[in-house]
């Protein structure tokens, strides 16, 4: 009989991970104290937006159940602590809810069970529990908002932190990991906890390079999109390198890890100047669209309206955590805004004069400038000529190059995107 797997904490991490585990043939129970949440999940109504999640849940209802009764975890061979750790605006983690949940789970888990911390914790966290309770293991989570099911169902590898890396993992846990068919990398607790952070530091470094060089391209007359293919063909950089310029780091996870590295460096006296530079660069890039608006329409006299397409911090998610779009909106308080997002409703707390448009085109109506702040797929279907007819002005700010620059130019729009010089209308 295959192992029974439990997930405690049904946030984004827990829901996606539990669903993927069931999809691999394991009896899986997801626990959360929130009765309403549990009821919605049981009815196939997850509170999060992730491509493929609903379908995978629906296909595995015979293996996946949800409960608000923690005693249902008692029969589990492996119990994951899968609560997403919240962060404040400075990226500092609030670990208190996780610690509370750990205490409850440890109290109900069988002595032979494995308790696996999947939540995002700093180095040293797991050993503090494992020193007194040999059941504890740490496993790195590598989900990406908007691609979480893909990442949960087909992980690239499992990174496991344990007391004795050379020893065999507990049999039920090892069988679970083997079912996914990817490499399993056991290591000491702190290495695994720092591996998680290191992955994100590599990504941030790559994004920092992209942002810095893209900005330089805008000044010297180069086009970053012409340079990227050449970089990816360099074996030292690779075809999957993270080289798309963006509007700063958002979502919460990268910010948390940056904050953790700075804090740990301060505690241990190690150099983190480069990390602070990445953070500063992210802050600088976040306001790219604002600066372009200032140069093009804000400094001109007269009334104007600006259209904002996209509110979520990235496509395929409803999260606005550290969203560049919301940051832009908050900085445009004197200017009336029309905003549209397929998944996020406008919040009047962001801006005193913001209205929610019924569609992307409706957000363009009468706008002196339109800014595409989230690269939702549906925005790619917009016709620049139609947009230009509905706008009162000619400025299109498209940082992620959602639309075709040539089509925008043909429509008479002054096109602005990351990584290349601005074009006049």
């Amino acid at each position: 009989m295959s192992a029974r797997i439990g997930f405690a904490g049904l946030t984004h991490l827990g829901i996606c991970s539990a669903t993927a585990t069931a999809a691999h043939g394991f009896q899986t129970v997801g626990y959360d104290a929130d009765v309403g949440l549990v009821a919605n999940l049981a009815a196939g109504e997850p509170p999060i937006l992730e491509p493929g999640l609903r379908e995978t849940m629906a296909a595995n209802t015979h293996l996946l159940r949800f409960t608000a009764d923690i005693s249902h975890l008692r029969d589990c061979d492996v119990i994951y602590l899968a609560l997403d750790v919240r962060t404040d605006d400075a990226g500092n983690s609030d670990l208190a809810p996780l610690r509370e949940l750990i205490g409850k789970v440890a109290g109900v888990a069988r002595p032979q069970a494995s308790i696996v911390i999947l939540s995002q914790v700093p180095p040293g966290f797991t050993r503090a529990y494992a020193a007194a309770d040999a059941r504890f293991i740490y496993q790195v989570e590598t989900l990406i908002f908007g691609r979480a099911m893909e990442r949960a169902l087909r992980p690239e590898r499992f990174i496991v932190g344990c007391a004795e890396p050379a020893a065999q993992l507990p049999a039920p846990y090892a069988a679970l990991l083997r079912a996914f068919g990817c490499p399993i990398l056991p290591m000491r607790f702190e290495s695994a906890e720092l591996a998680k952070i290191s992955i994100n530091m590599c990504l941030v470094a790559s994004v920092g390079v992209a942002n810095t060089m893209a900005e330089l391209c805008e000044g010297v007359g180069a086009d970053w999109s012409e340079i990227v293919p050449a970089l990816k063909l360099d074996a030292r950089i690779g075809p999957k390198a993270y080289l798309a310029p963006g509007l700063g780091i958002a979502g919460g996870n990268l910010e948390r890890d940056l904050s953790t590295v700075v804090r740990l460096s301060g505690e241990h006296g190690t150099d983190c100047g480069i990390v602070k530079a990445w953070i500063a660069n992210s802050t600088h890039r976040r306001d790219w669209a604002l600066r372009r608006l200032a140069e093009t329409v804000l400094e001109k006299p007269g009334e104007l309206v600006i259209g904002v397409l996209g509110l979520a911090y990235k496509e395929d998610t409803a999260s606005t955590k550290n969203s560049p779009s919301v940051a832009l909106i908050r900085n445009l308080r004197p200017v009336p805004l029309q905003a549209y997002d397929p998944a996020v409703k406008v919040d009047s707390a962001w801006h005193p004069q913001i209205s929610g448009a019924a569609s992307a085109l409706a957000a363009c109506d009468g706008a002196a400038a339109v800014v595409i702040m989230t690269p939702w797929r549906e925005f790619r279907d917009l016709d620049p000529a139609t947009m230009a007819r509905r706008m009162s002005g000619k400025v299109l700010i498209d940082p992620y190059r959602v639309l075709d620059p040539a089509a925008c130019r043909a429509a008479g729009l002054a096109y602005h995107t990351l990584g290349r010089p601005a074009e006049a209308a």
């Binding site: 600088h284 306001d287 604002l290 600066r291 608006l293 900085n331 445009l332």
Partner: protein
């Protein structure tokens, strides 16, 4: 305070033009170098006043100048400690920043390289330590205007040389890029800060740095007679100064600086005796 100076005078004119009741104070009203200056200042202040501190002995080039400037600041601090104001604005300078290739923003550490910068940086620290009211510290970049008495390297000196029929001599080829701000724009930003009761640090810069050579060409182009522009052998490495003006855009999204070409044209007109618009 400092109403008779180039910057103070422009601010007073602008505030009156937009209907703000401005009380100009100069050395003849309160000599900040005198021991009773703080007391006299306190006697003038009302609780709902905004206090603009513009006075400075500038440029500050030697120790005596530094100490006199700090004496003035001490008097202002003493006055503001005795009698509160609702809002305080200090006109500082971008001289507080080190000469560096890095783009300057409000988060760039103050690391002055000369006594003039030290003076302004110390002034900021002293005011921050004394004042309870909202405090705005404005750090203008290089200023230009017809009434500027200083003859610093840049549009003011270039214009005077050209007007006297002399050649404009550049350091090197005039490659260094700097951000030049028209004096009227400083006044306008001060007006906005007063309206919003702004506090914190704000650089006053356009965000568009231009090479001195380009400025020399623009100034020379205003004169009917040809003006010779002469480069000289370069003695120091080229160091540009660019500003990241995001904070100013966030503070005042609809504010526009006078384009340099337009500002130089206005200065040229005013210096020929044309009226200020």
């Amino acid at each position: 305070m400092g109403a008779n100076g180039f910057v103070g005078g422009a601010i007073v004119r602008h505030l009156r033009a937009i209907g703000v009741a401005a009380l100009p104070l100069s050395r003849t009203d309160i000599d900040l170098l005198q021991p009773d200056a703080g007391e006299k200042l306190a006697a003038r202040l009302k609780p709902d006043d905004a206090f603009l501190f513009v006075s400075a002995i500038a440029p500050c080039r030697d120790h005596d100048g530094l100490l006199r400037n700090l004496t003035m600041v001490r008097a202002v601090c003493a006055g503001l400690e005795r009698a509160s104001a609702a809002h305080v604005i200090n006109i500082s300078s971008d001289a507080v920043y080190a000469a560096s290739e890095e783009t300057v923003s409000e988060r760039t550490p103050a690391a002055p390289a000369d006594l003039h910068g030290v003076m302004h940086a110390t002034r900021e620290v002293m005011l921050r330590g004394s004042i309870k009211a909202p405090l705005a510290i404005l750090r203008p970049s290089l200023l230009y205007g017809a009434a500027d008495p200083h003859n610093g390297y840049g549009p003011n000196r270039f214009r005077r040389l050209a007007a006297e029929g002399k050649e404009i001599t550049l350091f090197g080829g005039g490659e260094e890029q700097r951000d030049h701000v028209f004096i009227d724009d400083v006044s306008a930003v001060v007006g906005l800060c007063l309206m919003h009761r702004s506090q914190g640090v704000l650089n006053i810069a356009t965000g568009r740095s231009v090479a001195f050579r380009h400025i020399a060409d623009m100034v020379a182009g205003k004169f009917a007679q040809p003006v010779k522009i002469t480069p000289t052998p370069r003695r120091n490495p080229i160091v540009h100064r660019h500003f990241d003006v995001t904070d100013r855009v966030k503070a005042f999204p609809r504010f526009a600086f006078t384009p340099l070409e337009q500002g130089l044209a206005r200065v040229h007109q005013e210096s020929l005796g044309g009226r200020r618009g």
